[in-house]
Symmetry: C2
Subunit: 339 residues, 2 copies
DNA sequence: ACGGTGTACCCAATCGATTGGGTAAGCTGT
DNA sequence: ACAGCTTACCCAATCGATTGGGTACACCGT
């Protein structure tokens, strides 16, 4: 009866009225664990309260709760773009871990644009998120020191930045793995499609590769390292540049699977067969890599786990702890493209 | 001075105290457009208020606002998985359109699991979103009628469902385009990797193809249609099934680019050259398609626009209007894989 | 001088939940 | 019989913004 158009949600007061007791009693009971009643009510009353709450499907209004408790249980996530599979998977990890500790996550895309990044941070803060996970940190110019000064709780994800807590893959190690692999396979003339120079992922993967390569006695003449976008088209363009140089390399390391796929396309256009005329190794071991017509060797990074760990770190920061950055171990998956 | 650890945000009351006026006056001024002051204050006072607000960076607490106005300006989005590039791009469209009308969006993954879908809906409603965009609707069992009964404002995206407003691509038309193309190229023995039978996208694309194919005089013996997962691995498995049958087809239509990529892999394993021995056509024209080693023909669907339109529809629903489903036009991009 | 009409504000309730501080009744021990 | 404790509650302020309904004063025309 009286079930009108605008069906309002049940409130604490509704429950209290129904039971003839005070809202505060209801609140206290619902916040205590099922057997104790935190001294708020008799066992019988507590049961009546819980039964009614379950029956009518009471769920507390999070806006009202936030207002009073000054915590929104909201977490802001900023990524370059969610259409980058790598970030999308990390976000799945975030969502899962956040849900597990009673938080909800908000994502937005900054398109790796510094102005947009600032704007998104402000939007998140205006929404009163409890903390931020920043997935688009730039090594050069950055908002991070300012955020710290403003005492905003945040952690970095995927990309690190000196002096700030982050959850990342050990990208330097990843680069080293590739150098060791290609060297062992006998390659001596190699090129790197290095990604964007403002991203620590790109810099570390390339750096790890270069250092290890030199340590093994390898050479990397000028033009061996080509910075590029992370996507397929960027990889293709970079590969074109590499192939138009004097002597083609016998192997290419692309710091991203999608760039690697673009490179494979360019190689084919030049009449070269991937895995035979030129090896290709990617990074992240996305679900695509193993299933490509020519399966792609790739450095596997625990993407979902990076997201989960980011939530764990942020949790620590929110509790006021001093947290240590997490750096997860990569592993190399060798496939036909470099076998 | 007194800038302590927990830097509380500026409130209306703070502004009012600073200016020696009443909070309600400040509220009214800040809600009127810059020249009128809605009769709430003198031009001079209004200016003082606005200047102070700008100076201290006042931003209203959205939780408090929601509590009072009973609208959260929050929008829930449920997708099968954000790591599906197609959904990720639609979400980018949603985010953009939502921001433009002052809404923030929440996404979660249901993994196309019906129980999980219900759970996510409840979580969204518990968060008091103003409306839902559902991107994982199943043709068979579904929560939709129940949501309607509960008067929850929602619209569908990507997948349609009879009787509910949706923003989709005209998938039937997309299937037809492929049938026409393959028929014109002289193919007579074709197979379809049809996707998941509970998704309208899969059903419509396949249906459009089949009907048009028959209309053109083509035949589709048993086993020509293989239902599958939407991802690369699903496509590979489906293609294996197709290729192990009596006679291999001369063309394969996969209702998803990733499934098409998997199929290309399977073809290569069987020693067939894509585009020569067997044509392949995908769907969605994701950024990868054009850049693959063998560029993939694909039906282009306006993914971001589908997301934007979904927000537009939902806006209508929230205003209580009767909205019409949107069905956007696809177009075929022919490339080497079927040329 | 007086009714009328603005103008420029202020007051207080309200949204829903939380929480520090009561209090009355009943029981226990001595 | 009474101090002291426990049990089982209730009261009211509070978080920050919004909004229907005042009120006090100035000015205008007649």
């Amino acid at each position: 009866m009286g079930n009108n158009t605008t069906e309002r949600a049940v409130t604490l007061k509704d429950l209290a009225r129904e039971l003839g007791i005070h809202p505060s009693t209801v609140s206290r009971v619902l916040h205590s664990d099922p057997d104790s009643a935190r001294g708020a009510a008799s066992a019988a009353t507590a049961r009546r309260i819980r039964e009614l709450a379950a029956e009518v499907g009471y769920s507390p209004d999070p806006q009202a709760t936030s207002l009073r408790t000054r915590r929104t249980q909201l977490l802001g996530v900023i990524v370059p773009r969610l259409s980058d599979l790598v970030l999308a998977i990390m976000y799945e990890g975030i969502e899962e871990a956040a849900a597990a500790i009673g938080y909800s996550a908000f994502v937005t895309n900054s398109h790796d644009d510094v102005a947009e990044q600032r704007r998104q941070v402000e939007i998140m803060l205006a929404r009163r998120v409890d903390g931020l996970i920043i997935g688009d940190s730039h090594l050069d110019v950055d908002v991070l020191p300012e955020l710290r000064d403003r005492a905003v709780p945040f952690v970095l994800m995927n990309r690190r930045h000196p002096g700030f807590p982050s959850s990342t893959c050990d990208d330097t190690r990843g680069g080293e793995l590739v150098a060791e692999h290609l060297w062992a396979k006998g390659h001596r003339r190699v090129s790197v499609i290095a990604g964007e120079p403002y991203a620590s992922t790109a810099v570390d993967r390339t750096g790890g590769f270069v250092d290890r390569w030199h340590a093994l006695g390898g050479e990397l003449p000028d033009g061996s390292i080509v910075w590029s976008r992370f996507d397929t088209q960027g990889g293709r363009e970079a590969a074109e540049k590499i192939l138009s140089a004097r002597s083609a390399p016998t192997a290419i390391f692309a710091v991203n699977d999608f760039a690697a796929i673009g490179a494979m396309g360019a190689l084919r256009s030049h009449g070269m067969i991937v895995g035979q005329d030129c090896a290709v190794v990617g990074y992240n071991d996305t679900s695509l890599a193993a299933e490509l017509p020519i399966p792609l060797s790739s450095v596997r990074s625990p993407m979902a786990e990076i997201g989960r760990q980011a939530v764990g770190l942020l949790e620590g920061v929110l509790r006021g702890e001093a947290v240590e950055s997490v750096r997860l171990e990569p592993s190399l998956q060798v496939r036909e493209s470099s076998a």
